[in-house]
């Protein structure tokens, strides 16, 4: 690596087919820029973890190629492993060992000498606020603490790219928000590029600079959360009138209104700049003698984006039994204490 590549992670036609029949990831193309947080958003079984497993060299792609920091994930896999950090979906820390022992084990796996490893471990423990618990067995840790320990383990080799697979799976809302803070802090402290997967919309919205929505192994759209929301064509204004008449066409004549749907007397209006357009809609209705009884406005969330691009809301899909069991186990362990 002589010069900094603009695209830290690059995937071209990346494909994984299991048992010659189950296509988990289907010709995926994307690039992750230096220093950004890139998120893969999709329901369970959409191919997020398979993609991450290919990028971290645990699985070999069936077709296509990808590179991390310019290293080919298939041909230069050992170079890739050296420059990345991984925070898996599961709790991989050994329950029988203490927090510190676990971090030192990770350090050993990277061949970091003991003295350097100890210094880094103490630094990382401080960063994730586990210093006081470093000599306690991991089985006494709460879900949030375990997650932080995993973060610390993933950073022991000072990675240039950190991969996070479902970083807050199974955590309660408060712990989740706290974990987001740690992730932001880590990113700021180390200036890393982050690649994460999640099936929580709020998480993608809160953490990611750019999001790729993935469904059935295919990327349906990529963009910043703002771009994606904006691409829906603006806000949703919901209006009800007293009279029993269809006023869809009337509303459509108002400027900036893009779409109107009559939902049993309640009109779902998609409009750019909803807060400016809404008064004009009321005005138009009044001038024709209608009485507006209700008006509400929602800014689009990633949920609407998701709905728009995949045609369905986040759903639970059938997936491999083992993956399902692993996920259940993570959730159970997260909630164990």
């Amino acid at each position: 690596m002589s010069e900094l590549t603009e695209e830290i992670i690059k995937a071209e036609g990346l494909t994984k087919v299991f048992n010659k029949s189950l296509t988990a990831v289907d010709h995926v193309n994307f690039g992750v820029k230096n220093g950004e947080v890139f998120g893969f958003l999709g329901p369970n079984g959409a191919g997020k973890t398979t993609t991450i497993n290919m990028l971290i060299t645990v699985l070999k792609p069936t077709e296509g190629k990808a590179s991390v920091l310019g290293f080919d994930i298939a041909k230069q896999d050992n170079n890739v492993r050296n420059v990345i950090g991984v925070v898996p979906q599961e709790y991989t820390a050994d329950e029988d060992l203490t927090g510190l022992e676990n971090i030192l084990l990770c350090a050993d796996l990277y061949g970091i000498p003991r003295d350097v490893a100890k210094k880094r471990a103490m630094e990382l423990l401080k960063l994730v606020e586990l210093t006081d618990f470093k000599d306690k067995k991991v089985e006494t840790y709460s879900g949030g603490m375990r997650r932080r320990l995993e973060l610390a383990c993933g950073l022991i080799n000072r990675p240039k790219v950190l991969f996070l697979d479902e970083p807050t799976l199974g955590l309660d809302v408060q712990t989740r928000a706290a974990t987001w803070d740690y992730i932001r802090k880590l990113k700021k402290e180390y200036g890393m590029t982050l690649f994460m997967t999640t099936h929580y919309l709020e998480e993608a919205d809160a953490l990611c600079d750019r999001v790729a929505i993935i469904d059935h192994g295919r990327i349906v759209v990529i963009g910043t959360p703002e771009e994606l929301k904006h691409s829906l064509g603006g806000d949703i204004v919901t209006i009800s009138i007293k009279e029993n008449a269809d006023v869809s066409d009337l509303i459509r004549t108002v400027e900036h209104v893009k779409e109107v749907k009559n939902d049993d007397g309640s009109y779902r209006v998609k409009a750019e700049y909803g807060e400016v357009t809404a008064p004009f809609i009321i005005e138009a209705l009044r001038s024709k003698g209608y009485t507006v009884t209700r008006l509400s406005m929602t800014e689009p969330t990633l949920n609407e984006v998701y709905l728009e691009y995949t045609g369905k809301s986040m759903r639970d899909t059938e997936e491999s039994r083992e993956a399902f069991r692993a996920q259940r186990m993570t959730m159970r362990r997260a909630r164990a204490r």
């Binding site: 690596m1 010069e3 900094l4 497993n53 971290i56 060299t57 645990v58 699985l59 070999k60 920091l69 050992n78 170079n79 492993r81 050296n82 420059v83 990345i84 991984v86 898996p88 979906q89 599961e90 709790y91 991989t92 050994d94 029988d96 060992l97 022992e101 084990l105 990770c106 050993d108 796996l109 990277y110 061949g111 970091i112 000498p113 350097v116 080799n157 000072r158 990675p159 240039k160 991969f163 039994r321 083992e322 069991r325 692993a326 186990m329 993570t330």
Partner: protein, 319 residues
């Protein structure tokens, strides 16, 4: 300017780090060690001591046998007599045979088992028993490693795939050797008599033999464990084959006493060779050519089977 991580794990470093983890976990749960030890100890105490084969053939057991008077035609005793019978009273007979019977038991034992005491024979077999069990179950931990995501995590670090496999094999061997030592010490406490050819050097031979069997057996079971998604599957397989494998070997009884079809199995069963090597090195007067045969077989077994096992595991880990 991005710089590569300055540290790289050497192959040995990776193996040692992963083996250390396993051993640490093991030492932190002494109950597992205790449970593993207790079973062969029970066998040794209950079966080895209760099944007193040596005692069965002892002189005192024959002494109680009521030997009837024997009448013989006179000419059979002294050819000149052509008529009449000679009667030898039973108590005279019994007195005459008593010393012969007293020697009969030990010599029957010696001829069949090679030692005069069954306990000595089977307690060494128990070392094979614990080695086999420990090795077969040791692969199981990788099922957990995979389910808990640890395996994937290690796969994403620069540790070589070979180190992952070999650390498991090494761990199995170390555990087995440690437990074998405990069993051997307990056997001596319970009254095991070592042969006159026994020396401290033989202990090294014992470890070498155990190591060879462990390497072969644990590689196969590791490959099996990697493919079985459930711990229960692995359990079932181990339970299905361990007892037959043990009984179709010289762990409890000499192969020469078995029906031919069991002999056929026992002669290819590596457990037989391990057990014989252990006996040669401890309770039997050392027969060097037998020992060489045992070690040759165990070495071939270790190399061939571990190559197959490692190849299978390797293919799984780099899929």
């Amino acid at each position: 300017m991005s710089k590569l991580n300055e540290y790289h794990p050497s192959r040995l470093h990776g193996i040692w780090a992963l083996t250390k983890r396993e051993l640490k976990k093991w030492l932190k749960e002494p109950i597992i060690l205790f449970m593993a030890i207790i079973q062969p100890v029970l066998w040794m105490g209950l079966f080895g001591k209760a099944m007193n084969l040596g005692g069965m053939f002892s002189g005192s057991n024959f002494g109680n046998i009521n030997i009837p008077n024997i009448s013989l035609p006179g000419y059979a005793v002294i050819p000149q007599y052509t008529s009449g019978n000679v009667t030898i009273p039973g108590n005279v007979l019994s007195q005459m045979f008593q010393p012969m019977f007293a020697n009969l038991g030990p010599s029957v034992m010696q001829n069949i088992f090679g030692v005069t005491d069954y306990f000595g024979y089977m307690s060494v077999g128990m070392i094979s028993f614990i080695v086999m069990f420990t090795t077969m179950f040791s692969g199981m931990s990788i099922v957990w490693d995979r389910r808990l995501g640890f395996l994937n995590k290690v796969l994403s670090t620069p540790v070589s795939r070979g180190a992952i496999i070999f650390s498991k094999v090494l761990n199995a061997a170390l555990r087995a050797m440690f437990q074998a030592t405990i069993i051997l010490i307990l056997a001596v406490i319970f009254g095991l008599q070592v042969s006159s050819t026994f020396s401290v050097l033989n202990i090294l031979g014992v470890y070498a033999a155990i190591f060879l069997l462990c390497v072969g057996l644990s590689s196969v079971f590791l490959a099996l464990a990697l493919r079985s998604t459930k711990q229960e599957t692995q359990m079932a397989i181990v339970n299905l084959i361990n007892l037959p494998l043990m009984f179709a070997s010289n762990t409890f009884f000499p192969i020469s006493m078995m029906p031919e079809w069991i002999q056929a199995i026992a002669h290819v069963n590596p457990i037989s060779y391990l057990t014989d090597a252990l006996r040669q090195l401890t309770v039997l007067p050392l027969d060097t050519s037998m020992l060489m045969l045992d070690f040759t077989y165990l070495s071939i077994f270790a190399v061939v089977v571990s190559l197959i096992g490692i190849a299978l595991s390797w293919r799984y880990l780099t899929k």
